[in-house]
């Protein structure tokens, strides 16, 4: 499969009262056509900012992209004019946001919010756009779409709003959808429905997806490949299967061990990662995960490891102690 989106050395900074924060620090990842890629990490690790940087929607003036390239179908999005970029947003790359409660405009009807993209990007007439909007609502499983078009977001439940967001994202048949924690704000039962819907639609329409999440369950089930982020950098990347079976970075290992599993004995203890993510204004020269790491060696404090091959094809991890992590029995728990 050809590469659809390639992010190279992307660096995004925020100016805060505490100093300049490098939320995304020289990150590279890619998404191939039709593929589902996950970006995983704790809150504040830079995963949402990465996606917003691709869309060039990082909130100015505090936030700005200071370096790197975002190649989409061979064009560098960061070099485009604002008008050229506008034509890509919603048409070629669409985004689904985390909070279905606040991400829809409360004073506009569902129909209006669905049709405006169709009218602008596809040049549809209002009746055409309306017909397609009804079709889209039906496609995402909202019953009685024609009537629903005239309603407002507050008349929709959380799950339905997220379905509507998905319909909105898929409206102009983009080739890539960036889904920023699409299910975090939803009930667990609804989460599964939404994810199944997204997976199903992306397969049927051949849309590539980037799923941003902190939920490893989501990753295991829906992603083809996974990027694990920590403190603004990617610390491990590989196929979802391999990452689960043989994590090579202590952080990935820690994430896996901190998730409760139904197939484990009930009394098995959870093993959370101790400590807090680091303050991004105070990063040292070494590995950002070092203070919380059970595998740390002297070298980690002074010398930051780069991504290097860690087993199977395309599996890379940024750790000096790959071998020791690999030999840890916990890493094989599956």
């Amino acid at each position: 499969m050809a590469t659809l989106l390639e992010v190279r050395n992307l660096t995004t900074e925020f100016v805060t009262s505490g100093g300049v924060v490098r939320a995304v620090d020289g990150v590279s990842w890619d998404v191939r056509e039709g593929e589902t890629v996950a970006l995983v990490g704790e809150s504040g690790c830079g995963k949402s900012v990465s996606a917003l940087s691709v869309m060039r929607l990082v909130a100015a003036p505090a936030g700005r992209i200071v370096g790197g390239q975002v190649l989409f179908k061979g064009r560098d999005l960061l070099a485009l004019s604002e008008e050229e970029m506008r034509r890509i947003r919603g048409r070629e790359i669409a985004m689904i946001f985390q909070e279905p409660m606040t991400s829809l405009n409360p004073v506009l009807t569902i129909g209006r919010q669905l049709t405006e993209g169709l009218e602008i990007h596809l040049g549809m007439t209002p009746p055409e756009a309306r017909a397609r909007a009804a079709l889209l609502l039906g496609m995402v499983g909202i019953p009685d779409p024609a009537r629903r078009l005239g309603q407002y977001p507050h008349q929709f439940s959380g799950g339905m709003r997220q379905r509507m967001m998905i319909a909105m994202a898929l409206a102009c048949e983009p080739s890539l959808v960036l889904a920023d924690e699409p299910t975090t704000a939803l009930d667990v039962t609804i989460q599964a429905q939404i994810l199944e819907l997204m997976k199903d639609l992306s397969r049927r329409l051949g849309v590539a997806m980037l799923i941003i999440t902190h939920n490893l369950g989501v990753v295991a089930r829906y992603a083809d490949r996974v990027n694990v982020m920590y403190a603004g950098r990617i610390v491990e990347r590989g196929s979802a299967r391999e990452l689960y079976a043989e994590p090579r970075h202590p952080y990935t290992l820690g994430l896996l061990k901190s998730v409760p599993r139904l197939d484990e004995p009930r009394r098995a203890r959870l093993d959370p990662i101790e400590g807090q993510p680091p303050d991004l204004t105070q990063l040292g020269a070494g590995c950002a995960f070092e203070p919380r790491c059970g595998f740390r060696v002297e070298r980690c404090t002074a010398d930051r490891p780069e991504l290097r091959p860690a087993g199977g094809e395309g599996h890379v991890a940024a750790c000096w102690e790959l071998g020791r992590v690999a030999r840890t029995p916990a890493a094989r728990v599956q």
């Binding site: 869309m55 929607l57 909130a59 506008r86 034509r87 890509i88 947003r89 919603g90 048409r91 669409a94 985004m95 946001f97 909070e99 606040t102 991400s103 829809l104 405009n105 409360p106 004073v107 506009l108 009807t109 209006r112 405006e116 993209g117 602008i120 990007h121 407002y152 507050h154 967001m165 909105m168």
Partner: protein, 318 residues
Amino acid sequence: MTKFIVRRLLLMIPTLLGVAVLIFLLLRIVPGDVVEARYVGGQGQFVSVEQMAMERAKLGLDQPLWKQFVAWMGGLVRLDLGISMWTGAPITEEIKLRFALSLQLAVMATIVATVLAIPLGIVAALKQDTWIDYGVRVFSIAGLAMPSFWLGIVFILGLLIIFEWLPPMVYTPFWVDPWQNMLQLVWPALAVGYRYSAVATRMTRSAMLEVLREDYIRTARAKGLWTKLILARHALKNAILPVLTVIALEFAFLLGGLVVTEQVFNLNGLGLLFVEAIARRDYTLTQALVMLVATVFIVVNFTVDLLYAWLDPRIRFR
């Protein structure tokens, strides 16, 4: 929706009744009445106590308070405002022309304020912390700092000195000669509207800034909409609600509160009438004016609520 309107209309009755009781009692707590004001205030002649009692009886002031109140209420229900205690003329006649003038001035000032405030507020929000924003803020604070009667004087002097022309000083109703009428009223409308726009500009700016940070604006941008469309369709409709409230309440205030500005432009509006009525202890006229202004306030508030419901669908279903 109909239920909402009916309920709000019914709620007006206790509000107006409350205003009526308050103004009725407050006026009578203030020392002196119209008879004293007429005889004592004036030519320094001696008036016998009996004569004053007679005058009071003629005006019904010797009746118990509750009887006076009931009589007044009875008139109000029949939309009969009674006669002025001072002039003896029907109050409707006293108020009619002045109300038309004050209403026209308030409407014109509101138009000036809105036309100034909304674009300026939006521009300031979009260019936050640039010289454009500072410029708008200085302009609007200057408006707040300058009393509109002073600005009015500056206008008049400016017109006189630069153009050697004075706006007409005699009021012509709009329906008699619109041009003359406008020539006179446009200046006070500008002076008052400018000052009045200051609060609305700042409100527009801060409401816009708040709305522009909302998630749904980001969603709209992610959809690839034009910036202008995002502003007009997504942002403004949300930001306009608090601005509407400010503009509407100010409008109601303008009807009775322009005493000095009216003087500067030699306008015989409600403001001056209000001051005179109170000074003369003209109970019936003051009461009628207060009820009129209260009614305008309530009607304006009600209109704003309806506009809210129209602009924000979440309110409709409460």
